[in-house]
Symmetry: C2
Subunit: 333 residues, 2 copies
């Protein structure tokens, strides 16, 4: 029996924080004490956990006395400021921001792929990867294990909840305004997102790529331990509330047939093949929402790269793309 642990959630009132609470409860994580932390604004709120109402306290440097596992999901600058305090207090920090992901002495972990990397965390910090990266790699890993992933060309279809609750509010408000013939307001995205798509997720860099696209590239290499993995990615926001979809062409070191590829998913943890297109069976973000697994469909031969397949991967980016993956890392400790 695992001993009960003192768990803290920093950013408990955000979409991912709330989902972390849900995952801890559903997965029966051995929580002894639970400390819920957020900005001063949320102090005094109470969140339900196992039938109790747990008060939210202000996140401070001295919030972590006695905490053994600290789940952070309050943005990069909050992690940069408070994660080291939590680690100094003796907690293992599992950080959902991008602040530490690419640091050499911080493991970047998807438990189904590189659980072993979580063992050594010299700074007391383990990083949770970017959501689109997790979903894409969950879809590719069973193939990588058997055929050796060499190259990825991906185009994403990302939900507005990737921008947090305000992304959801913006899509809802714009949809309502358009239905009522009122002018729309733009607060989160620079262009209308309702009934539109924007090839723009996170901010742009000098080479014309976005930070989100760069994360897909760098984080994928680190998680798979393949510094030479070739990745081109285009990240696109679509008017979907939740779950990211990715259209992927994947090139492998070894020859691969569609039948062998399908077989590679047999028994693969956390990922499910939904691929009977003639019966309209393929993954969609609506059906993936709230589910633990990532889903793969439209598996077929790619006609451009050598030893390559085209596929369609969908996963709930709030759940497996963030909260669930963090709780699964906590389960490894």
């Amino acid at each position: 029996m695992p001993t009960d642990r003192h768990v803290a959630i920093a950013g408990a009132t955000g979409a991912v924080g709330l989902e972390m609470l849900k995952c801890l409860e559903e997965r029966d994580y051995p929580v002894g004490e639970l400390t819920l932390l957020a900005s001063a604004r949320s102090e005094g709120r109470r969140l339900p956990f196992r039938g109790e109402e747990i008060p939210v306290r202000e996140l401070r440097h001295d919030s972590f006395a006695g905490v053994e596992v600290a789940l952070f999901s309050a943005g990069g600058s909050t992690s940069e400021e408070f994660a080291p305090s939590a680690a100094r207090a003796g907690a293992v920090v599992i950080d959902n921001s991008s602040a530490f992901r690419m640091e050499e002495d911080v493991p970047l972990v998807v438990p189904e792929i590189n659980a072993g990397a979580a063992r050594s965390h010299p700074r007391g910090i383990i990083a949770n990867p970017n959501c689109t990266t997790i979903v894409t790699l969950m879809g590719l890993y069973p193939l990588h294990r058997k055929f050796g992933l060499r190259a990825v060309i991906a185009s994403s279809y990302q939900a507005v909840s990737g921008s947090g609750a305000r992304g959801i509010v913006e899509l809802e408000a714009q949809t309502r305004a358009l239905a009522e013939g009122r002018p729309i307001e733009k607060n989160v995205y620079p262009h209308q997102i309702a009934f539109n798509v924007l090839p723009h997720v996170d901010r742009f860099l000098d080479d014309g790529y976005t930070r989100e696209e760069l994360k897909m590239c760098n984080e994928g290499r680190k998680i798979l331990g393949r510094p030479g993995l070739e990745v081109t990615c285009t990240c696109v926001r679509v008017p979907v509330y939740r779950s990211h979809s990715v259209s992927v062409t994947a090139g492998f070191e070894r020859p691969v047939s569609v039948a062998e590829a399908r077989a590679a998913y047999d028994g693969a943890p956390g990922v499910r093949l939904l691929d009977d297109p003639r019966e309209a069976v393929y993954p969609t973000p609506l059906e993936a929402t709230g589910r633990d697994e990532c889903f793969v469909g439209r598996l077929r031969r790619d006609h451009v790269l050598e030893n390559a397949l085209a596929l369609w991967v969908v996963g709930d980016q709030v759940r497996k793309g963030a909260a669930l993956n963090a709780v699964q890392i906590a389960e490894l400790l």
Copy 2:
């Protein structure tokens, strides 16, 4: 001065038919007589053209006496049945369906790309390409001319008006039902399209590709005259009313820098670079709607293929993807 012509539109009451009327008027096409044809159901309707109300007549085999140019946009089976009658009556048929596109003695034309192919039409039929193909090729052609297109990997974001007026009705009705908390109805798509994306456009073939994806591949080869062009395509329906977007990785025969690629669009007809991402300038379907040009943005180096670029192409598929392209073909005659 061109002499006025007797023009017929078969499928005049459909979305593309109405847009053809608009294009003929806006572009001052030398229309002498105008015959509007549709199914018996639409007989008696009147459509506005140059300040007059033109009656719609039932499409029949004897509808084409004296017609010189017959624009068809009433679906593949209607074209198969009636286009030969129109051609026998002496008209040049410009057919927007997929019925004749891949036949050897039928030219497949995008005027900015292969206007010369329209000269010879031994069967009296010229085919208008698939909408996603037109938009994608319009974005790629200036690069192809200078660097020689070798391979294309594309993922599309296709609007519901690609399914005709009923696609628009379905997205509107589902959006309204969800807002009012009522159950949605599915008539056009096998899954909910509002706030969802479906990797499914047209029907599925044995190899796991859809007919739409195959069209992109085969039609692109024919229009560019490159039977060896390598194409992998994933066509996805998104909850957008109008204009298709395509995320493209394009490989070329010769080395190409981003600066050279940008320069290739200078003065290229029918296509415009909208590429200043730091200022949030990139094409979106909402802004491309109603425009004649196709738009290219997010131009950058691809990291997987040799001599390759990644780009984002958007175009109004009802307009340049269908009606405008057909009228431009008529202008070549």
